[in-house]
């Protein structure tokens, strides 16, 4: 089967899945890669990116170690042409030596320019960073503004890659889909004081800590978020109160 046919079939499977499920990501898990390199680590870590909207492209990423006893995950395999084969020479990235920042060891893999093989969209400055407790990514969507993830509702719930492809986080970068919102450390509102309600704006993924967001410069200056609290009073009657979230950080 040639590469184009495999790509078409992979996209078709994803589209059928989205249609059958009503499009909820929790019910759509891209098929695991069909061809893997021989890993050195006994516990490679898997994640998958879903690019685009109409014809989503599944791009698998797997972290490995150069040596079995490497201090960090220092090799990244990423399926740049989305053909399910992670053995191509140009899909292996060796991390720069890990750096220690605030007692935290990090390996950053610079992929740079990524061309979505289905939509032909070009995204730039793509990087993936491993830490002991999480994996993050960042890129400039269509070469312009930032998309990054994966975030949970507090720093302890940021996303990590999984040692099983069947449980790998599904991350949805980009600015193509209608944006949704996720709170950050704002799930509990205190009656005794004013609360600072904080939000990410972006795309939910599938799995813990998989929200992908824009940065705080994305919205035009005149735009802001409306938040409506829907609550009940002592008698059980429902009320609403509106707030304007005009600040950014």
């Amino acid at each position: 089967m040639n590469a184009h046919l495999r790509l078409f079939l992979a996209a078709a499977v994803l589209l059928i899945g989205l249609g059958a499920s009503g499009g909820t990501l929790d019910e759509v898990r891209p098929k695991p890669p069909s061809k893997l390199p021989r890993f050195v680590s006994p516990k490679p870590l898997y994640g998958v990116f879903l690019f685009g909207k109409e014809k989503p492209t599944a791009v698998w990423a797997v972290l490995d170690r150069i040596k079995r006893d490497s201090e960090s995950y220092d090799v990244l395999y990423i399926d740049l042409n989305a053909d399910g084969d992670l053995t191509a020479a140009n899909e292996r990235f060796a991390g720069v030596p890990p750096v220690r920042i605030d007692e935290e060891l990090r390996s950053t893999f610079t992929i740079g320019k990524f061309t979505d093989p289905v939509s032909s969209s070009i995204h730039t400055d793509f990087s993936i960073t491993w830490r002991a407790n999480r994996v993050s990514y960042k890129m400039k969507w269509n070469g312009n503004q930032i998309t990054m993830g994966g975030f949970g509702t507090d720093p302890d719930t940021y996303g990590n890659f999984s040692d099983s492809p069947n449980k790998a986080p599904v991350l949805v970068p980009g600015h193509d889909r209608p944006f949704q919102f996720q709170h950050w450390m704002s799930g509990s509102l205190k009656m005794s004081r004013e609360n600072d309600f904080k939000l990410f704006m972006g795309n939910p993924g599938s799995g813990p800590g998989t929200f992908s967001c824009v940065d705080d410069t994305f919205l035009p200056k005149a735009d802001f978020v409306f938040a409506t609290l829907i609550y009940k009073d002592k008698a059980g009657a429902q009320h609403q109160m509106k707030y304007e979230l005009r600040q950014r950080c």
């Binding site: 309600f197 409506t228 609290l229």
Partner: protein, 42 residues
């Protein structure tokens, strides 16, 4: 990377679960889906 602002609770609110519906203010040209976020009032 965060959008935020002050939220003072109404006087008639009672402790317990509530929803915060989040959306962009009218006039924005950015596409979004209103999102209901579960919160807890303490």
């Amino acid at each position: 990377m965060l959008y935020h602002g002050p939220v003072g609770l109404p006087k008639d609110v009672v402790p317990g679960p509530a929803l915060m519906r989040c959306e962009l203010a009218p006039g924005s040209n950015i596409q979004f889906t209103p999102t209901d976020i579960s919160v807890r009032i303490d």
